[in-house]
Symmetry: C2
Subunit: 361 residues, 2 copies
């Protein structure tokens, strides 16, 4: 028995999630380039590549380095850093070194950024995609200005191969997912046309998030050539609560011990230092309990989760002090980044190292 | 130049914060047993011990092991695991081993928990404190039932030396801090009396949090013998926003690069994977900018922070793309737990390993 709290992966469910996404993508005729930032594990990347993924998406240079180092396990040497990097001297040297050992794609979202990246790369062989804003208002240029960025990048010597976006505003209940999926397709279509007018062929039109993947067939995917969902191998409480999956699809939980009970309230030894502290405005609480869907996590400290059970739970079903409970984190990407290994349960238990943990730069 | 994002410590401010807290405690006649979970660094623990701390507080067995391993640096072999542990076979063995190399104190908060701990320890030399609830409604027994828990612990062979609480409900703006400080003192007084009635001498009455430390002189500290504040070496945006310190007292920031600018909005390459995702209901946003107190962090993803500047900031003062910015995390304890080292700036830069990073169990 492993000391709690720890993160556990249900490998059957993981494999089902990987297969289901791969099948959806095949039906929709789009490539899968999963975002490895969610799992940061070579073993899971390997399974994604085996299921047909064309490469991996990563968020940082450090994450790219970790997965380049793991190419022998994953079988993948095709990495897309989907972030408009501004690289100082050290980061630039690291990018040039990476470009020598993997096929590397990098994002740009401004004329200034594109020129600076070209200077950083100094002709190292890298492909570039222009990021556009499809409604999240984070990074990304306006879709109808993508051509301007592409032209500047080309003029600076970069090989521009397409456009990408992240529909992060799909993270919300109700019709939010559908609205974001529609907005994403429109943004990429406008951006692709903007590139063509600038004389750049938008071969790759990359989008998608776990919440919008389920709408691929309905929302005119002729535009998208590639999707980059991250969360889908595991899912999490946010995905359950916005309706993009059910509890049965959750493949990663934090195993915790009940350390206190007062009537219909228990306290677990799992806190924000293993679950993450994410709590969207629309969330029911700080996570969920996999085996007690009606319970609510009402309070979260660094090492304590306070759970309340509603009137419909028979008193005898409330976990006793000393028993183990499985917690579904609100945002699994942040939970995984807090540990050095995942305990993969597949008959017996195997340790999967989180090879890119903490690789923020 | 170190690649961003990274966590940086202003050592002058750190030392001022350590000295100020030590002086407040001396004036109030209480011992300082700082909570090491905030910094998880041997070098900072050493400075706290040199400033007069009687020992360290930790949150988990793993954290205790890390600091026991570092005793040669810190000069400290007196550790209090301020958590009502429920230890399985493995954790029990680790506790017994720890008790052989440090002076170990552990929390209990129930009759059941006390008996279980006694079984786990199997006569290993450990001292025990009874945790009471002073209003946070997390772990801790009701103050007037502390004697019952103490009696059961004693009967099971444990050496009960006192009571403790954590006034976590002090984390809020306005009069919240003062109300929590008063409630804490009352709870410890009631608990101490409850122990005396049960025939157990409450030698140690341990409380305190960074927000309530400033009120030590005003709120009848004759009850408290020891305080366990964690955040005070660094402070953070939460502490600034609840009024327990100012921006000039903030000693830890995340250094980030501006990767995009649109008018009065910029995007930084620091996200929740280095800042943590904490955002209390009363917070102004997802953290603050140290050099721009009027800016607001309006959106936070794993690798992006979106910052908006209000009308009072001259346009020329808004940081340009490629420039560096210092972000104050909302909750520094969670930020530190996300990195392997802190960059300590003291003339030159030194790396301080986060020795207890990820030690959740």
């Amino acid at each position: 028995m492993i000391d709690t709290p720890y993160l556990e992966v249900d490998v059957d469910r993981l494999d089902r999630n990987l297969a289901a996404l791969a099948a959806s993508a095949r039906r929709a005729g789009v490539d899968v380039r999963p975002h490895a930032k969610t799992h940061k594990c070579a073993e899971i990347a390997r399974r994604q590549i085996d299921a047909g993924a064309v490469g991996l998406t990563v968020a940082t240079v450090g994450e790219a380095e970790a997965f380049a180092d793991a190419a022998g396990i994953t079988g993948c040497t095709d990495l897309f850093i989907a972030f408009p990097l501004w690289a100082g001297a050290e980061k630039s040297a690291r990018l040039r070194a990476l470009a020598e050992r993997v096929s590397l794609r990098i994002g740009v979202d401004s004329v200034e950024g594109a020129r600076h990246l070209a200077g950083s790369l100094d002709s190292a062989p890298v492909q570039v995609l222009v990021e556009v804003d499809s409604g999240q208002h984070r990074t990304g240029t306006a879709p109808d200005r993508a051509g301007e960025v592409a032209a500047a990048a080309s003029a600076a010597g970069l090989d521009v191969i397409g456009v990408f976006t992240f529909p992060g505003h799909s993270y919300g209940p109700g019709q939010t997912r559908r609205a974001a999926a529609v907005a994403e397709v429109e943004a990429l279509a406008v951006a692709a046309e903007s590139l063509r007018r600038a004389g750049v062929e938008p071969r790759v039109r990359s989008g998608g998030s776990t919440p919008t993947v389920g709408l691929l067939g309905e929302v005119g995917s002729g535009v998208l050539t590639e999707i980059r969902p991250g969360v889908y191998p595991f899912n999490d409480a946010q995905q359950v609560e916005i309706g993009s999956c059910g509890f049965d699809d959750v493949a990663l939980t934090a195993v915790a011990t009940v350390v206190r009970r007062d009537c219909r309230r228990i306290v677990l030894d799992s806190g924000s230092k293993i679950l993450g502290a994410d709590r969207a405005a629309w969330a029911t609480g700080y996570g969920r309990l996999l085996d007690h869907p009606d319970a609510r996590i009402v309070q979260l400290s660094e090492h304590h989760a306070v759970v309340e059970f509603g009137p419909d739970t028979p008193t005898d079903d409330i976990p006793r002090v000393g028993s183990l409970v499985r917690v579904v984190p609100n945002h699994v990407c942040n939970a995984v980044n807090l540990v050095d290994e995942l305990i993969a349960i597949d008959g017996e238990d195997t340790r999967w190292p989180v090879i890119a943990r903490g690789r923020n730069s």
